[in-house]
Subunit: 357 residues, 2 copies
DNA sequence: ACTGGCCTCGACAACGATGTCATGTACGAT
DNA sequence: ATCGTACATGACATCGTTGTCGAGGCCAGT
């Protein structure tokens, strides 16, 4: 050992340009430590069956060469072929809601040494399959997807090949798999109930693209709840397919300046809420017409009035999705299930405005 | 050869549950097409030297088996060992600023088929090296890093081994490499100049952690600009190490209720700006005391008054960083450089408030 | 008919690691 | 002294792909 140490030091000082040498492999470490490469593998992977003395020799050599395991090469042969990476498909990594989900997933999977490939969908159904294919080519251990294409049947072959799969935000179409979603209908219903309990009877709905499942659910929940309260649902003004702030603003302006305007507005999504807020402000109605938005946002409490929202819990969605994925990776064989994360009504003022007497 | 084909077909028809079979490899495709696996490789990778007839046979077999190239295995042998993946280290994927950068990078690299591993730093210097190490173990083709540790010298060995490296938001310490940053000092200076030109002489600075380079730069730019205008800089109230909304709010409250309070506030970062906004509102000073924040945020124009900011351009930072990384990956050998992305003063009202006469 | 060149193609080794298995060694039990 | 057992260790095949190189077929030119 002492001898080894001496050799080590000598060798060190001999290497004039260690930085420019090629990346060391196990073979190099093995040679330097004077052992076989399998022994190096054992030490690096903390497998048993290596004497402490050998272990130290290998660790020294490894440190000296700045050796680093090549995970890709390893997973080629390793049992189960785990690559310790998963693919995550989001509407967009720049969207704050997605960002929170991304973060929760990163935290949950990072603890297990699993890295995340994230990709943005940008509401383009055609990208969905292309990105999934790219993930598969990288042999990810699992996928967490926000589906947008009309059907997810294309992943069936992979799924039955045992590729763990969890959908988030929306449920898959054309196949069965785990999903983690917000209680969209219930959340929207609670918004309606809240407005009605505040005395409103003329409610309006501003909604997102109708080809998005969650948008349809929110609308359904909202309308059904109104019906349950005995208010005729056929007369509710409904404006849909609003997909950005400006179209929402225009729709809200139109609603509010029409004859017999609504006294309360429910908006199904952040950008739509922003548009409605702008319209209300333009018309000076911010403190006259009630507003509840689906999805919370930064500074909602700093608006005038504060904006009442149905908050989703992206961290919980992400965390749960990651947990389900890990369970599947670990061999859980339960039948697929949809997990529902409850939303939460947060009162901040705009939703508590009473209708004019 | 013909024999090969025959054997294979038999094998095929024997497999009763193709969906449950293992993932097909080139060997399977080769067998089905009745060619050698190198030919399959050539077809899949669009290499020349394959007759059209053979090409079609291979493509058919590939489609029939739903074959997909294993990138990891390929990059093991491929010249240059490209994995077509890069590592991205951000303050947090859930932070909107980081999200924009992430998105711009994804777009720029995705066009080249490069996938992105993103990880969050969470202001923890110890995570930095751990995450970088994890990236390296995955043999990424390059790294884009937001440094936070005191020194980035630990990547020198890798960098000189030709690992492309681009820093964003902050410049590296202890080594030389490309960096893409905002003109922090100039941006802060322009805020100071704007306030001074509005007639203010009693300016205050609310700043982030002083161990963050950008925070120091912003402070420097702000203070120096004030000095240039002949205002004694020693009397400027400076509160630093504010790292969340609450501490910023308290600091602002303290400043504003002290004797001879400032007539204008500059806040060096989003959360600090939010805290300042809250303090101003609590004291009813929102329309009395000027405020300029560094970094733009959603709904800044919907506040009362609208919040004037020095906007950074995360999309440009991300895009530029990705372009530099690609250039390095493609062999660009220029000496390392720091690229500066200009910030932009956006007037929305809060920064245009005049001092009381 | 023979040569040489071009084209197509596949056998084989190699990439860096891990799984399998055989070998060698030490030690306690007989 | 002998045996058996447990432990430590390394040789070798292998994962799925790509790089190298040589073999064979075809054709034009002599």
């Amino acid at each position: 050992m002492h001898l080894e140490g001496a050799i080590f030091l000598t060798t060190m000082s001999d290497r004039s340009q260690p930085a420019l040498s090629a990346r060391p492999t196990m073979r190099h470490v093995a040679a330097l430590a004077g052992v076989g490469i399998k022994t190096v593998s054992r030490v690096i992977n903390d497998e048993p069956g290596v004497s402490e003395a050998t272990r130290q020799k290998v660790l020294n050599a490894s440190r000296q060469l700045n050796y680093q395991l090549d995970m890709a090469a390893g997973s080629l042969r390793r049992a189960g072929r785990r690559t310790l990476s998963v693919g995550l498909l989001l509407p967009s990594v720049s969207n704050p809601f997605s960002g929170e989900i991304n973060r929760a997933i990163e935290d949950a999977l990072g603890a297990r040494g699993i890295a995340v490939f994230a990709a943005s969908l940008d509401d383009d159904p055609r990208r969905e399959q292309a990105i999934v294919t790219a993930f598969l080519g990288r042999r990810v251990d699992g996928l967490i997807l926000t589906p947008i294409a009309r059907s997810q049947a294309y992943v069936i072959p992979e799924h039955s090949r045992d590729l763990p799969l969890v959908f988030i935000d929306r449920e898959p179409v054309g196949m069965e798999a785990d999903a983690v979603v917000t209680d969209n209908a219930a959340g929207a219903a609670s918004a309606a109930a809240h407005l009605i309990s505040g005395g409103h009877t003329r409610l309006a709905y501003l909604g997102d693209r109708t080809d998005i499942q969650t948008a349809r659910e929110r609308r359904r929940g909202f309308v059904e709840e109104i019906g349950r309260h005995g208010i005729p649902t056929s007369t509710i003004p409904i404006r849909e397919n609003l997909h950005n702030e400006e179209s929402a603003r225009l729709a809200a302006l139109e609603l509010l300046t029409a004859e017999d305007p609504p006294t309360a507005i429910f908006s199904s999504q952040n950008l739509v809420t922003f548009g409605a807020m702008r319209a209300l402000r333009e018309l000076g109605l911010s403190n006259r017409v009630a507003l509840i938005g689906f999805d919370d946002f930064t500074l909602a409490d700093m608006m005038d009035p504060g904006v009442t929202v149905i908050a989703q819990h992206p961290e919980q969605i992400g965390k749960l999705a990651a947990e389900r994925l890990l369970a599947r990776i670990d061999g859980d064989e339960q039948p697929p299930r949809t997990y529902v994360v409850p939303s939460e009504l947060i009162q901040r003022g705009s939703g508590e405005i009473r209708p004019p007497a």
